[in-house]
């Protein structure tokens, strides 16, 4: 019999000062965070889409019951402002760490996530960049394994870093077999 997890299974055991209380703590090396430009980009998109929606809603309200128009516009702007803050925090929550044998990716604000993908399990690596991403000099790296559930995506990388990461991951994955 082996214990299921070497560490403790209750908070009361966490006596020593070294022990972290954050289950999403970095794995002995700091998280590499994604580019702040991604936050700018996403904030901008949120702002534009949000303000357009607010404008449409306000116009509709003005046309139907003008008394409420100020309230709707105000609430809309507040919502957009809140989304602005949230989007920035969400982007800052992305992080990844390359270890000797695997890659870790973490993200999420409401639902926090952490995924560990061993290099040996990697089937292929995608680098994608949409038109807006390219404008901002950003790219997304996505890892694929044989499991559909593997959710390992790193957005907001500068293209050079994305290419480096892809090549490094591909090299470690070593899919093809050859040899003289």
């Amino acid at each position: 019999m082996t214990s299921i997890s070497p560490a403790v299974d209750g908070v009361d055991h966490l006596g020593d000062a070294e022990a972290s209380v954050d289950p999403f703590a970095p794995p002995g090396q700091p998280w590499v965070r994604v580019s702040p430009r991604l936050a700018t980009l996403r904030r901008l998109v949120t702002l534009v889409v949000g303000l357009v929606l607010v404008a449409v809603a306000t116009v509709l309200v003005v046309l139907t019951s003008p008394r409420w128009s100020a309230v709707v516009a105000g609430a809309g702007v507040l919502l957009v402002g809140w989304a602005w803050v949230l989007v920035g925090r969400r982007v800052r929550s992305w992080g990844y760490a390359e270890r000797a044998e695997d890659l870790l990716v973490t993200r999420g604000l409401m639902v926090q996530r952490l995924v560990v993908v061993p290099y040996g399990r990697m089937q292929f690596v995608d680098v994608t960049a949409g038109p807006l991403d390219r404008r901002f000099g950003l790219a997304t790296v996505q890892l694929h394994t044989a499991a559909a559930a593997t959710d390992a995506q790193i957005p907001g990388l500068v293209p050079a870093e994305a290419a480096r990461l892809r090549d490094r991951l591909a090299a470690r994955g070593e899919a093809g077999a050859a040899g003289v």
């Binding site: 040996g120 499991a147 559930a149």
Partner: protein
């Protein structure tokens, strides 16, 4: 068209087989039945019977003709590594199924087929989107025989290996199947409703109510009978080639699940079965997708728990679920799962992780550590409040979704880290995919060796030294072969005649590419000496051996010296003191020498180097579709160029090697046309690659070591020192690092048994730095003696061009040093990102 009793399959001249002649009938009857039914309906409608009958009658010969043509066009052939299937009347399609990717072979017998004695063979292949290459229909004995042959070949055994004997592990009696169906909530609910409706109809004497129940009844019958019909006579039998599952009343299915293909297991105990102690077992099998996964993932429809566990123990040998200690969920989990939280549990041993869940239908998921694809940790807002988190183990698609929900947050993280470590250990110890050819319980493994990693390629020697210290021969999982690290082991790999050069066609790395996209590259390898064993090897090598013999090569010395001087003159003429050692000297000289030897016109010399570079890139590990594409383009051009040139030499022979080869081409006895071209390309490529790389590697090593450089410079006139310097260059940073062999029988190398069919590669560069063979191996010693390095290989395939390469280097090195008395690096040399053929892309120098 009758079938012989000994060979139940029809075979044509090219070794192709055809499907059973009754195939069109069996495939077509459904269409005719549908057409007839439609016709009958129309006949009583507007058109009247006349035109319909004519239409149906006319469609019969047309359909029959098409069916016949389609049958004619369909043929299949089983080769060493693949199954080829040609289909299509108008659009021809040729498909190749790689047997090493074969996951399972199913024999399916539809109802009508059973009356005719026909069966369909379905192959499940890893990565395939749907069932690949269904072979419908074959006679039943032919289907059985072909299945046995495919499984034997996929397992790496001889194809005539008889079908493995089997032992029945489990049979599901009809009574239990019926009772299990009855003990299910939907069936009981539906029955109660049906009874209620009928009672009501009788009580009210109302035909209307009875009428309402008719559609309901149509839904009820399949609900009750479906499981019984599909699982009728469910039998699980064990055989060395895997578990055999057979079931079905109307359509019978026989399925073989090879061991090692099971990724995860789910044991389901519905509430109403619990008193009986019955369970259902489902499995994730790699390769089955969509519909196929659904029907194939059932290992056992209903059986007592103990019996089911016995079957499981066959799939996962040594698994004993009852010894795994389970930990329960903490009390906080009751807020998120008030009914089921007491059931939640998780446990692990060295092989598996087990989770338990489900208040009513109890579900136990078992995941093999080595099959885990990725591990995830998630925490929602409520979980964060409660200090909980969930862990998910991702496996290939299938019924099992192993999740460890609602663990204490820090324990969940610790579980993630522990599972990742366990998965790594388990993967390293896992058996290879050819499951019968080799099963070695614990193999010494080369960990952390990534042959395409830029950090490794920059200086591979520390990593190679670390692994060499671990053992002479280690398993390398990423490339799926054994690697020989020490001088003694590598040497014996090269010299052992039981380890042959056996060409296996390379497969495209682009999954969307045609299976034979690399044919031109493969053809050029299949037909040359380096990829063949005697007698072909002897025949091919003896044709050119004389031209590369030492005596013959020595006569070229003055020519080579003149070329070296001319190249350095050309550098001087530019007026600059700096030049690229690779582009200006290391490449042009050996290319020109070998091209002259074969008789390539001087004006075409510039073509050879790019062709060769794109071609040999295929030897590296981790190549991608772009490398494939360039290699095919280069090979196609190179082949066409040489065919034309060789045809010219055949008509008008000259005094060169290509003319000699062209004269020997006689359609096959001495040399076939393909062999002529493949040999010429091998000589042209191998004839310069090693010299280019050895020179670049050697000079950079020499320039990096001032003491060695001073020694060599002071004794440039000493032929013996020139010779030993060149040998040390070949040893110190060898131009060829890896040479593969394939075991033709089980071969013991050191303390490792390399099973028949497995590959083992000699690491020449690692062996040449072995301290057991070379004192102070990491020092460049230009006067090293003795220096029995294996930079040119050893044994049967020892480099044919070694005397030529040595002679070239023995001229190039002293000429360079003499002509450039102040030679230094003028910039950072640039490595080619390759391991197998190790060299520089450019070496800027001045002097």
């Amino acid at each position: 068209m009758s079938e012989g009793t000994t060979a139940p399959r029809l075979q044509d001249d090219e070794g192709f087989h055809r499907l059973h002649p009754l195939t069109p009938l069996l495939r077509g009857w459904k269409v005719f039945a549908a057409a007839a039914a439609l016709g009958a309906q129309q006949a009583y409608g507007s058109l009247g019977p006349g035109p319909v009958l004519i239409a149906v009658a006319a469609s019969i010969p047309i359909g029959a003709a098409y069916g016949y043509l389609s049958w004619r066009a369909t043929r299949y052939r089983v080769g060493d590594g693949d199954l080829r299937l040609d289909t299509g009347v108008f659009r021809k399609q040729s498909r190749r199924v790689r047997l090493d990717r074969l996951q399972a072979v199913d024999v399916v017998r539809p109802l009508v087929g059973r009356f005719l004695g026909l069966a369909e063979l379905r192959l499940e292949v890893a990565g395939g989107a749907k069932s690949e290459a269904p072979l419908a229909y074959l006679s039943e004995p032919a289907a059985q025989q072909l299945r046995a042959e495919l499984l034997a070949r996929a397992a790496g055994l001889h194809h005539e290996t008889p079908e493995a004997p089997e032992a029945v592990l489990l049979e599901v009696p009809l009574g239990r199947l019926v009772e299990a169906t009855a003990r299910s909530v939907p069936v009981i609910g539906a029955t109660l409703m049906l009874v209620a409706v009928l009672t009501m109809a009788v009580a009210l004497r109302s035909w209307q109510v009875l009428g309402i129940s008719v559609p309901f009844f149509f839904g009820y019958v399949p609900l009750v009978t479906r499981l019984i019909v599909t699982h009728f006579g469910f039998t699980v039998a064990a055989s060395p080639d895997g578990l055999r599952l057979r079931h079905g009343l109307l359509e019978t299915r026989a399925q073989t699940v090879p061991p090692g293909r099971v990724q995860a297991v789910r044991i389901i105990e519905p509430l109403l079965w619990r008193r009986r102690g019955w369970v259902r077992v489902e499995v994730d099998i790699a390769g089955y997708v969509g519909q196929a996964q659904e029907s194939a993932s059932l290992l056992c429809p209903v059986a007592p728990r103990a019996e089911a566990l016995q079957v499981l123990a066959r799939v996962l040998p040594g698994l004993d679920l009852d010894t795994v200690t389970m930990e329960s969920a903490p009390r906080q989990a009751r807020w998120l799962d008030p009914l089921g939280w007491r059931v939640l549990g998780v446990g692990a041993d060295e092989r598996v992780l087990v989770t338990r869940s489900g208040r009513f239908t109890r579900i136990t998921d078992v995941v093999l550590h080595e099959k885990v694809q990725s591990v995830r940790l998630t925490q929602g807002p409520v979980q964060r409040r409660l200090g909980l988190a969930s862990v998910h183990l991702d496996t290939t698609p299938g019924p099992v979704t192993a999740a460890v929900v609602h663990r204490p947050a820090m324990a969940a993280r610790a579980l993630v880290d522990a599972e990742v470590a366990r998965a790594r250990t388990a993967r390293a110890a896992a058996a290879p995919d050819r499951w019968m050819a080799s099963f070695v319980p614990a193999r010494p493994t080369a960990e952390g060796l990534y042959l395409a990693d830029p950090d490794f390629l920059a200086d591979p020697y520390p990593t190679l030294a670390r692994l060499r210290a671990q053992g002479p021969v280690l398993w390398h999982e990423p490339t799926g072969q054994w690697l020989a690290f020490t001088y003694a082991a590598a040497n014996s790999v090269l010299r052992d005649r039981r380890l042959g050069r056996i060409w296996q066609d390379k497969q495209p790395t682009d999954p969307g590419a045609a299976p034979d996209a690399l044919e031109v590259v493969n053809r050029l390898h299949r037909n040359q000496m380096m990829e063949n064993e005697p007698p072909e090897h002897t025949r091919l090598r003896s044709l050119v051996a004389k031209a590369f013999a030492r005596g013959h090569v020595e006569r070229l010395r003055p020519q080579v010296q003149a070329r070296a001087d001319a190249l350095l003159d050309a550098v001087r003429d530019t007026g600059s003191t700096s030049f690229d050692l690779i582009a200006d000297l290391a490449e042009p000289l050996p290319v020109a020498v070998i091209a002259d030897l074969l008789g390539i016109p001087e004006s075409d010399h510039h073509l050879l180097r790019p062709w060769s570079a794109d071609f040999v890139a295929m030897y590296e590990y981790g190549r991608g579709p772009e490398v494939d594409r360039r290699a095919v383009a280069a090979a196609t051009e190179f082949e066409a160029y040489l065919r034309e040139l060789a045809a010219g030499r055949q008509a008008d022979p000259r005094n060169d090697l290509l003319s000699d080869l062209a004269a020997a081409e006689d359609g096959g006895t001495r040399l076939s046309p393909d062999e002529l071209i493949a040999s010429a390309i091998l000589l042209l490529n191998a004839g310069h690659e090693a010299s280019v790389n050895a020179f670049g590697n050697g000079v950079v090593a020499l320039l990096a070591d001032p003491d060695a450089l001073a020694t060599v410079r002071s004794r440039l006139g000493d032929a013996e020192v020139v010779v030993s310097t060149v040998e040390e260059m070949l040893r110190f940073d060898s131009p060829l690092h890896l040479f593969e062999r394939t075991a033709t029988t089980d071969v013991q190398i050191g303390d490792v048994l390399v099973p028949a069919g497995a590959k083992v590669a000699a690491l020449l560069g690692a062996a040449n730095r072995d301290p057991a063979a070379f004192p102070d191996p990491d020092t460049f010693d230009p006067t090293r003696k003795p220096n029995a390095h294996i930079g040119f290989g050893a044994g049967l395939h020892h480099c044919l061009g070694a005397p030529l390469a040595r002679m070239e280097l023995q001229i190039m090195v002293p000429t360079l040093l003499r002509r450039c008395p102040d030679l230094v690096l003028a910039g950072q040399p640039v490595r080619r990102p390759t391991f197998v053929l190790r060299g520089y892309a450019s070496v800027p120098v001045s002097g």
